[in-house]
């Protein structure tokens, strides 16, 4: 299950002057211009209500922009985008297996034909031995893993995650952060990761987009590169370099407040 990026220099996605206002209200996202490189890990941080989810939904094509354009490399938005929500958002009546099978089923792949892919996705997220359990028989962290397996089963080039681990306890979250980084490095995804945790964004990302409401509603106030090498692990979490970068991102968030 590996996606081999076609050789190309241009960015995967370019947003030019993208804005969105819901039925005539003040804009939730305003004048966002940025490019996203293939294979990068980007976080969107900002206080709640600053337009992170809106921006992510615009990228997913679940919302249409009121202004501006989104240009995907090669023309169209890729068919398969992985999307992971804050809640695992599983079908409660379907087993872990069937939940992961769902995207393939919607594409018309038979259960038998999908079976090995589904099983492989479950194994990748560490759930190879519980395919028959229903969501309510899984812990919160395991449910989130099913949700990630579902997002990766179609081998999407892009994974969009909207505060995926925010509802989990810290231990589980750190474990999932590490596993997500491993998957990202193995599979060559482009990940756009929304979080309100400065610490999580610094730990995970190559690049952090800081959004704030005060700098102007729904705008990107800062674009910070985190140049620490991967794999990142406990030693990075505890390094002073990590804390320095957290401070810098926090400062960028606060700057917006003035």
């Amino acid at each position: 299950m590996s996606t081999s990026p076609p050789a190309s220099d241009g960015p995967l996605l370019t947003l030019s002057g993208v804005g969105k206002s819901y039925n005539g209200d003040a804009p939730a996202v305003a004048d966002v211009t940025l490019s996203i490189e293939r294979g990068s890990f980007i976080s969107l941080v900002g206080p709640s209500g600053c337009g992170k989810s809106t921006l992510l939904r615009l990228i997913a094509g679940l919302l249409q922009p009121s202004q501006g354009t989104l240009d995907w490399e090669g023309g169209d938005r890729p068919d398969d985008l992985g999307f992971v929500f804050q809640d695992a958002t599983l079908l409660p009546w379907a087993s872990a297996f069937d939940n992961v099978y769902m995207p393939l089923k919607l594409k018309g792949v038979s259960r038998d034909a999908a079976s090995s892919k589904v099983q492989e996705a479950l194994i990748r997220v560490g759930l190879g031995d519980v395919p028959d359990r229903l969501p309510r028989e899984l812990s919160g962290g395991m449910r989130m893993r099913v949700s990630i397996a579902r997002a990766l089963v179609t081998e999407p080039p892009v994974l969009l995650m909207d505060e995926p681990f925010a509802a989990l306890d810290e231990f589980t979250r750190e474990k999932l952060d590490d596993d997500l980084l491993t998957l990202w490095r193995d599979l060559g995804w482009t990940v756009i990761f929304v979080t309100h945790s400065v610490y999580e964004s610094v730990y995970l990302s190559e690049r952090i987009l800081v959004m704030s409401t005060e700098a102007g509603p729904g705008q990107i106030a800062d674009d910070i590169h985190i140049d620490a090498p991967y794999p990142r692990g406990l030693s990075f979490r505890q390094s002073s370099a990590y804390f320095d970068r957290c401070k810098a991102v926090s400062a960028a968030l606060r700057d917006g407040d003035i």
């Binding site: 997913a60 999307f83 958002t89 079908l91 009546w93 769902m102 919607l106 229903l134 309510r136």
Partner: protein, 262 residues
């Protein structure tokens, strides 16, 4: 285990106690049979008229079940239609409400005229259906709309067709609502069948309602009670059957039916 045992035992003891008290009070107070018959007298009347009462029960049961089945099919189908088109919903929902709020007793004569007096069975069926239909429609409509928005978005993202969305997402999500509506509607179908027979009379066979009227006219109060008893038992049986169905369908995944192991 012991708690479910007590849950059966206690109402039964209350029932037996009440019957004994009833029997004793009527005997000691020397209450006439045509005012309040003792349970033993009712039992005797039931045995004596058993054949005719059971065939009346069968007539009522048949209308009830048929009306109920048509209400489920019609209600779910119309709700699905509503979920596919806001316009159709806007156009038709008010009429469903009108049908619901107009007392069935008041429509009965009209229906009877329309279907013809030699078609009373059909009139009964229509009237019972009208009463049973609305809870299914409104519950299913609500259920189809109550799907997690993020799941809807996910289906959009994966390019699901309308049919896939309906079949794999909306209908399963609506199932608890549909079953809840069926539980209400099952009882209403019985009430509808009985009320309709009171108003419109009997068709080819005599139902329980008509037996009650007949017995009342002849002051056969024990037979009235026996017929009433059968009606209650029928209502209870319908309720329990639908509760069982709900439990079987939802027990694995839905919060309302999950056994928390305590």
């Amino acid at each position: 285990m012991s708690s479910s045992f007590f849950r059966l035992l206690i109402p039964m003891l209350v029932g037996i106690g009440a019957l004994l008290f009833w029997e004793a009070a009527v005997t000691i107070g020397d209450v006439p049979k045509f005012v309040l018959p003792a349970p033993s007298v009712i039992g005797a009347a039931l045995l004596e008229n058993f054949g005719s009462l059971i065939s009346a029960l069968w007539v009522t049961l048949r209308i009830t079940l048929l009306a109920f089945a048509l209400a489920v099919v019609g209600g779910v189908a119309l709700a699905i239609l509503f979920s596919q088109s806001r316009l159709i919903e806007m156009a038709l929902f008010p009429y469903a409400i009108i049908l619901q709020v107009t007392p069935v007793v008041a429509i009965a004569p009209l229906i009877l005229i329309w279907v013809g007096f030699d078609n009373v069975n059909l009139a009964l069926l229509i009237l019972a259906w009208i009463v049973a239909f609305f809870p299914i429609l409104s519950n299913t409509t609500l259920g189809l709309r109550s799907v997690d928005h993020n799941l809807m978005d996910l289906f959009t993202l994966y390019g699901a067709t309308r049919w896939q969305r309906l079949w794999s997402l909306q209908l399963p999500a609506a199932l608890p609502y549909i079953l809840g509506g069926m539980k209400i509607s099952g009882g209403l179908a019985l009430i509808g069948a009985v009320v309709a027979e009171f108003v419109a009379g009997s068709g080819s066979g005599t139902g329980l309602a008509w037996r009650i009227i007949e017995a009342g006219n002849r002051l056969q109060v024990p037979t009235m009670f026996a017929a009433l008893l059968l009606l209650s038992l029928l209502g209870i049986a319908i309720f329990f059957a639908l509760t069982l169905l709900e439990h079987l369908a939802l027990r694995r995944w839905h919060e309302s039916a999950v056994n928390r192991g305590s």
